[in-house]
């Protein structure tokens, strides 16, 4: 990282470090030094190595063999690459906004002063605490078409429910439902953010006679934009890498008929089931680039809507 020794080449380097700005910059590097050290020691090398493996044929056992762009050419012709990317994009487009909206609403609900609120908050957080095997087994029961509770509920309204996880049409929505249900992590991030908003701001607004909705739109949401920005960026990074939910629900196969074959299951399958680590690395490199471009776009656009977002060039 050239960034750690940035301006030494400029003629005014010595002067710079003595200036107020220079001292601030020095503080910056000192503050991030522990993380940077960890990054250089443990993270950077393996990431570069794994990306480089994308240009090799590597079965973990025999030494990696350089094959240039072969993996990427194979990838273009590989229908499962397209299917898994398509499934993942579908899930990202649905689960990220849904998860954000639902978590935000629940956080608003849990940000009141009500007797027993500690218990309520804990309750809403439970799906993200319970081990994936337990909640997956539960969902398999809930979504069982004949006697599962979900279709039983729909039946009350005379709707014949679908076969959910066994249906190629409904399998992805089933998974998205589970993801949204278990997005307690996002919920508590919002809750922490809401708590950071001074009560007095609301009270000032109340005195002005602003309605609940107006307060939400003009006070709460603007002040929450840094948090919302965080959940958006992380939602995209995390959901593109959705894995364990799908893995446990579909017994690792991404079925039925590859309808829930998400990108990381395909990476995993290539890496540790088919032992095609080179190909898995090539897939990962593509994923990396996709997420990177989306994140850069997010960061670039942040200045337009995120309150107090620092300028990003």
């Amino acid at each position: 990282m050239a960034a750690t020794t940035p301006t030494l080449s400029t003629p005014t380097a010595r002067g710079f470090w003595k200036s107020l700005r220079g001292r601030e910059a020095l503080s910056f590097y000192l503050f991030i030094a522990p993380w940077t050290l960890g990054f250089l020691a443990f993270i950077l090398g393996p990431i570069l190595a794994s990306l480089a493996l994308g240009f090799t044929q590597y079965d973990i056992i025999l030494p990696a063999k350089w094959v240039g762009l072969k993996n990427f050419r194979d990838l273009i012709a590989d229908p499962l690459f397209r299917i898994s990317l398509g499934n993942t994009v579908y899930i990202v487009l649905m689960a990220v906004p849904l998860g954000m909206v639902v978590s935000f609403l629940i956080a608003l609900l849990l940000n009141q002063k009500v007797r027993g609120m500690a218990a309520y908050r804990t309750g809403y957080f439970i799906p993200s605490i319970v081990p994936a095997v337990a909640s997956a087994a539960l969902w398999l029961y809930l979504l069982q078409p004949q006697w599962g509770l979900v279709n039983g509920f729909l039946d009350l309204f005379g709707i014949k429910g679908p076969t959910w996880l066994a249906s190629t049409t409904w399998s992805k929505p089933s998974i998205i439902m589970l993801m949204v249900w278990a997005s307690g992590g996002t919920m508590i991030i919002y809750l922490a953010g809401l708590q950071d908003i001074p009560d007095t701001l609301y009270e000032a607004a109340s005195i002005d006679g602003a309605s609940w909705l107006r307060r939400l739109v003009h006070v709460t949401i603007p002040l929450m934009t840094p948090t919302i920005f965080f959940t958006l960026v992380m939602g995209i990074i995390g959901t593109f890498q959705v894995f364990s939910v799908v893995f446990v629900l579909t017994d690792g196969m991404g079925g039925p008929l590859n309808s829930t074959l998400v990108y990381l299951i395909y990476v995993y399958r290539n890496a540790f089931v088919f032992f095609r680590m080179g190909y898995a690395s090539a897939l990962s490199l593509i994923l990396f680039l996709i997420i990177l471009v989306l994140t850069l776009a997010n960061v670039r656009l942040a200045g337009r809507w995120v309150y107090s977002e620092v300028e990003m060039e």
Binding site: P226, I237, V310
Partner: protein, 296 residues
């Protein structure tokens, strides 16, 4: 640093206004419970399901449709877990992973987060993007290079690979904390800084106390992540004396495990501390700026 002027953070207003008495009509309270209760039931089902299964015999677990009420109720599943997996020993080992992870999240990550939120320096934005990009490469492909690295350091077979990297903070927490630090009014720090307080003292004395809600959040996340971490302990630990909880549970899911009642009993025991931690940590979500900052 360009501050957006569309929204005025209003610490000054906040300090000036006396806090009106909060009136809550009984009806309103009931209404809130009516909304909150049904929702919470839906979210608590997995816990109920887990506890119910943990009290069942295998012959009842095999039934479907499943029955909610265990019959007979096998309380004996709980003590039996310890016969298969000494959870109390694994608990102590797990703390060896959890505590450094919390330290890394709360201290190391927040230091870096503060720098990214407040301090100006050449190359900062590029470094920030690099930080974010460490989260974009799937762990499956970095696993082997990372393992080889630790093997060369001769750290494999012990806790070091599961502790030291976590002490150095993580991108997720740096990013999360940075977003929260951005919302803290600058004026508070500037005043202290101008008074001659050092950056570090401003940070520990003013910023960290203001950030309690998010630090509570980060603590919970760090705790949960290392509490449940499975793959790392599986590949790095090679001695059952070092086993952590997640690895201990494997005895119930091995090819010849299949003891679902015991697995669920063990999972319930594993989840209980997390629930308790959350229950007690959540009250820190209410100590925001107004109380700990300006009034304190």
């Amino acid at each position: 640093m360009a501050t957006d002027t569309r929204v005025q953070p209003a610490p000054a207003v906040a300090a000036a206004q006396p806090r009106p008495l909060r009136r809550r009509s009984g009806l309103m309270a009931v209404f809130r419970h009516v909304i909150l209760l049904p929702g919470v039931v839906f979210f608590v089902i997995p816990l109920v399901f887990m506890v119910s299964t943990s009290l069942k015999a295998l012959r009842q677990i095999a039934l479907f449709p499943p029955e909610l009420i265990p019959n007979p109720v096998l309380w004996a599943n709980y003590p039996e877990v310890f016969h298969y997996a000494p959870m109390h020993l694994y608990f102590v080992n797990t703390l060896f992973l959890v505590l450094p992870a919390i330290f890394g999240a709360v201290f190391t990550s927040s230091l870096a987060a503060y720098a990214f939120a407040r301090l100006r320096a050449p190359g900062k934005n590029a470094i920030f993007i690099v930080l974010l990009s460490t989260m974009m490469v799937p762990a499956f492909v970095t696993m082997i290079p990372t393992y080889i690295l630790f093997a060369k350091l001769r750290w494999v077979g012990g806790f070091k690979p599961l502790v030291i990297p976590y002490l150095m903070g993580s991108a997720f927490f740096v990013f999360l904390l940075r977003q929260f630090f951005l919302t803290i009014p600058r004026e508070l720090e500037d005043a202290a800084f101008i008074d001659g307080s050092s950056r570090l003292r401003t940070f520990t004395g003013i910023v960290l106390p203001l950030a309690k809600p998010v630090l509570a959040t980060v603590t919970i996340f760090a705790f949960m992540a290392s509490w449940n971490e499975y793959m790392g302990p599986l590949i790095y630990l090679s001695n059952k004396k070092q086993y952590v909880l997640s690895l201990g549970l494997q005895v119930f899911t091995d090819a010849y495990g299949g003891e679902w009642g015991l697995l669920m009993a063990a999972s319930t025991m594993m989840v209980a501390p997390v629930i308790l931690l959350f229950f007690f940590a959540q009250k820190h979500f209410v100590t925001g700026i107004t109380m700990s900052g300006l009034k304190g």
